[in-house]
Symmetry: D2
Subunit: 431 residues, 4 copies
């Protein structure tokens, strides 16, 4: 395997992969078909693979779907093109992969993070939406690649191809980390706890788009907020609201009181903070004192410390509200991400690489980007903690609509641009 | 038709009817199969019938199901034993019937109210529940006769039978009013507004059970609370809770604030009052400022005046909460009932009838009964307003479980007891 | 002392006493001057007296003023006509008296409750208000006899006079219980716990007015609600609201959340309930996170059980609200009263007495009266518990303005009427 | 007047002035004695003075004390050393002064802002507190110079002295603006609206301390938050909480609901925001539905736009809460300040001046300083709007305790340092 794929072929292959993953969109911990295809391809390329429980601590996953959903989706994947040899490794939502290329020469260990999951969004099914018009809209109801992870996975496979073809030009070790459940920041922690970045010198996470147009590049994005996602359940006692109101213990009022308390958590003088109750569902019938209430909440902070402050205040609010109304409360952490600051030296080296890349008209070294959250920060912080360097890059891509929108669509030209710049960075770091 | 049905035959027929209606339970405004069977039978007996829009003002109905549900249920009724001649009259949820027997002799006009609707409850499907064990549990998911209206309908048909057989013993006019959607107190008002009791001298509503055991009878139940049922919708503006919290207008917090305000409406010194928010559903995603919230609420008062006070306070709370959070609010009245005091003279006459009935060991003239609500009060208050007399009777029936419970079941012996006492009352009033 | 005072003299003396107590109005536990004058007179009449700590358990008092106020008032009393021999017995707010008349003949023990305290209200000082116009308005700022206890004390002394003069006509034992701090329901419990009614067969509490006009009488008033009065203090941590909002722990928001929770305590199906937060004071400066908050609250119930339900719910609300906002809460019970049902037989006997009294045009045996509270109920319930009989009577009196109003004033004719009917009752019970 | 005061003499005079103003501390709009002494001295020095209504629009003042307090304080000033010739000009809280030095030579117009008011704080009266130990603690209860405005006023007079002595070295015009009521950001707006900076080319406000130690200097402080201070009054209807709860309209619950709504106003993504309810007082008696409630609130924003967003949301919350509980609400703006960005060129020139001053070891050009608020921003923004330049300087001063603390005390060495650097800046700007 001494010659690189013809450019046009890789370009076409990237688009094929991306559209295939788009059409068979799988949300967090359900990326079973996707992972099986990724594993089959990387294995054939000659990578050494570790998968499933070899690279994930099951208990460290957050917000895992119920077992019935995991099992039903497994059956769905069997019938919808999964690689049947690899599929069993990913059962039960253990959908992570680490593919390693060992050059045999002395050199650093570099890791790239690739996320594979779709969102729980119903894709637009109208002629104005290109993926539908061109026949590769998601066939899974309420699952859609509206955050470009389909493109990320394609880029990961393209990068793997170039790296293997040019193995002789490289030194050290290169690890490709295919992560599940980035949406909701639920998957990375389980791979970090399994130790997949313990030996990593350089770590790079990459995202397409995020407001950056095709032809632009960001080398060091530090704008991600630390966050905690919680599912909260209040349990009280039902009673007839007309006949025996005093016998009820009202979970709905406890939740309503908690809502007002949560939004009232004081700001932190050290930086931005957020709290949101996105969903509340409570009660069963109009004339029944509600015995159950459910909240989906999230806290965020400009730093992990600020997020911890908000989260701790939130827990007090929830417990206090339960006590006020004599009901029980259960809090389930279903997602968590940290804040992270990219490593200066690595950002400078990557900026230089991008500057030498004719694909880019504008290169930004540092950006605070959007106020979302990312669990790649778990990988970044662990690598930096151990003395390595890490960063978060953005490859620009013109978008048809914003991220998480039902008409989200990327500029497919950015796929090859992404592969190329990551390959160029690998040559710089592992030359 | 000079001879009465043999006792055993009517007994069996009552049980057959009750079990049939039980098995084909239809909730409010969907009583299309039930009504078609009732109409067919009464018509054959010789009653003069007015149905559907002849006896209901469509706009005065409250809490009518959406048109798709009405249409789908119509199709279901077609396939499940409805009388196809009568069925079209009841399309669209116009499921009321008034059957009139004119004796031709001078005498008063007496009306009996019969309610036909089931509840939105999933019936218990275990061997311990007799209707399931004996094969007549409801075949409609989430619809169940858990408040004895199946029995009421059977009694109504049995009473109609006896009255017609004994037409010659009677004077004046007898009207049997078969009412839809008593549950949620949604149907009576539409029949009152159509004028069905404008000519009535005596009005009697009857209920089985309600805590009174078989063999007991209540002649004048005044315990029903006036009530208003409201569906409330708050509409705000969604925005990303991390990125642009200031652009959102939060319907969820408005609803939560309203909840606390509603429960805090001051008591009324003139008597018991109630307010309940039974259901709250709000928001779409964890990281989105919620743009919608929905509440199911109800107010009650020992008198109609107290209920009006609570309802007016509730409206202020809802509007104020919307204003606080700069969102819109819409309030939909989906049910309403009044309080009502039975007529003393009529209660005394009916008490005397019951005392002469060997079926009863205990007769109670006046009871304040359970703190539920009943829209028969609309009929009662209108009759009394026009100078007539009205009451609400309870025929005791041993119950397997409380009203609205998934294992509710009546003592079928009370069916014949009910027919007999109502017939005895008719002989007294229209002798 | 064999001859009764001439009628006119006692009439004048009653008015003199009432106006003197009115002018030197003393609120709860400060009735030091009043008690010293009462004690001096009864002692001279020949009653056996127990006072202060002999008839009160200090720790069972509720809502006692701070020691400085007690001491300052003592000095005030010294200078304002208190009897200096008796005054020391009442220092520190131990202002109860039990005066006993032992006839030496076999007979029952009958007790009358007399309350002596004024309210914390500023009396109207205008010519339209008779006590001001005629020169006996309260000389104590913010203390006023606006609930007729000045008249009650005068009646107590008048009754004592008649009883002693007619000692030979009586049998058994008669106890006159002069109670402090009825307002706020703070004083009776301490006398009950000291055992002052352990030997009582018949107990009678009496009130003037309460909406009943001169010439009417109520023999059995059962309308008093059980109640608990609580002072609530939240303590948090202050911080600069602009500079370090996250360092504060906000007592004001905890209190606000508690307020909404308290008003939202569900109604009780067994009868009327109430909850009120009458006063809230919180915070120190606009730009400081409030570290303190104070609430005055009260709960009420038609029965003691209902009040206990509301009070227990209130305690949960207060503790939960403190927990929500990470502050401490302290609850001080500063008043408590029970509900009570008068004894049927005693009511009947007293009704008969009143019917024989020419002063009354209308006699009501049973009344549920106003929805206030009274701690005479502690005496009543203890007497009934021990097998005795008890009741609460109302002697009608035309009022210039409602109770607790700054222009409240009684019809002084009712003083002699009250003495007479109570004397008549004594003759009936201890004949 | 060609020779400057001997250094030692001015040093002593500065300390004398500062201690005198400290001892006779006067809070916002009551600086009558202070202003009369300032006016007398400046007038004698030869400045042209405009005072009172010549330099303030009375209606544009915010949070003015009630007329009785203004009048009483006027009498106090008369007796406590005010200059009786000037005092009448400052009656009624019109306590501003603009002193102008016209050199007669062409040159710019430069203005310095000096604030004179004390805080509503009770000064510590213990030996550990130097002003008390040395005999110049405030003689006014609850008024204390705990924010160094006594020092500012002394520096203003010292600067005036040096400028007048060196008038011949200067060009253009110099205005000294002595402002009342900076605390609570209540006074500056009224002077801006009176036009006192319409002709100003350079504007400098100065503060001592604020965390900067003696020997340090900040040339451009931009850290002040825009703010709005509001007094809020809810008015409802009182009623007896036991007897007629339904007749009340509860201002206390409206205020409590508003409190929770205010703290819940969403964060703004463009920068820091704050909201605080520092004080709540509501209700009259435990058993009365509260008819009145009072809140002291403030909003802040990193920019004036953010503060406006928070303020507008706050107004909706207040109106909505009033509507919820059917009460009236009145909002009184009692203070307001803007955010402001110092002018770059002016900051650079002043930085250079400070760098040439041997008194300073550390000079900071730009600081975002503390998150407080300052109404000097009104002057700054108006000057910049009209094409001039403005800045806010901090002269370091070691503090005994933080600003607004009862033991606050400055390092008096910083007084002369302040005079010198401001004089040096004047020589630079008006050379």
């Amino acid at each position: 395997m001494t010659s690189i794929l013809p450019e046009t072929n890789l370009d076409q292959q990237l688009i094929f992969w991306r559209r295939d993953f788009h059409q068979y969109a799988e949300s967090g911990f359900l990326e079973m078909r996707t992972a099986s295809i990724v594993a089959e391809y990387l294995s054939k390329l000659g990578y050494h693979l570790k998968v499933g429980s070899e690279v994930m601590v099951a208990e460290a996953r957050m917000g895992v779907p119920p077992i019935e959903i995991l099992n039903n989706h497994y059956k769905w994947a069997e019938k919808n093109g999964a690689n049947l040899q690899w599929l069993p490794k990913f059962a039960g939502g253990m959908t992570g992969i680490v593919a390693t290329l060992t050059t045999g020469k002395v050199g650093p260990t570099t890791a790239s993070r690739v996320d594979m999951d779709a969102l729980d969004i119903q894709e637009d099914l109208s002629q104005e939406h290109v993926p539908f018009k061109d026949g590769y809209a998601s066939i899974n109801a309420n699952m859609m690649h509206a955050c470009a992870h389909d493109g990320h996975t394609a880029i990961g496979l393209g990068l793997a191809t170039l790296l293997m073809e040019n193995k002789n030009s490289l030194t050290g070790t290169i690890k490709l980390i295919f992560q599940p459940a980035e949406e909701g920041t639920r998957g990375a922690k389980s791979m970090v706890e399994a130790g997949v970045v313990e030996d990593v010198d350089y770590f790079i996470a990459t995202h397409l788009g995020t407001g950056i147009p095709t032809g632009e590049f960001v080398a060091g994005n530090s704008g991600y907020l630390a966050t905690t996602k919680m599912d909260v359940t209040f349990k009280g006692i039902a009673s007839h609201a007309g006949g025996k109101p005093e016998e009820g213990r009202n979970a709905l009022t406890a939740a309503a009181s908690a809502v007002l308390g949560l939004y009232g958590i004081p700001r932190h003088s050290a930086g931005a903070s957020r709290v949101n109750v996105g969903v509340m569902n409570a009660g069963s019938g109009r004339n029944v004192i509600a015995s159950n209430a459910f909240l989906k909440i999230e806290t965020r902070g400009e730093s992990s410390e600020i997020n911890e402050y908000i989260r701790d205040q939130a827990l007090s609010v929830l417990e206090g509200a339960a006590k006020m109304y004599q009901v029980d409360v259960n809090v389930d952490v279903v997602g968590e991400a940290l804040s992270s600051i990219p490593s200066k030296e690595l950002v400078n080296r990557i900026t230089a690489c991008a500057e030498s890349d004719p694909a880019f008209s504008t290169i930004t070294a540092w950006s605070t980007g959007p106020s979302g959250s990312e669990d790649a920060t778990y990988f970044m912080n662990r690598v930096i903690e151990l003395g390595g360097q890490a960063t978060y890059c953005v490859v620009g891509s013109d978008l048809a609509a914003g991220h998480h929108n039902e008409r989200f669509d990327i500029d497919e030209k950015s796929l090859r641009i992404g592969v190329n710049v990551l390959y160029r960075i690998a040559l710089e770091l592992n030359k």
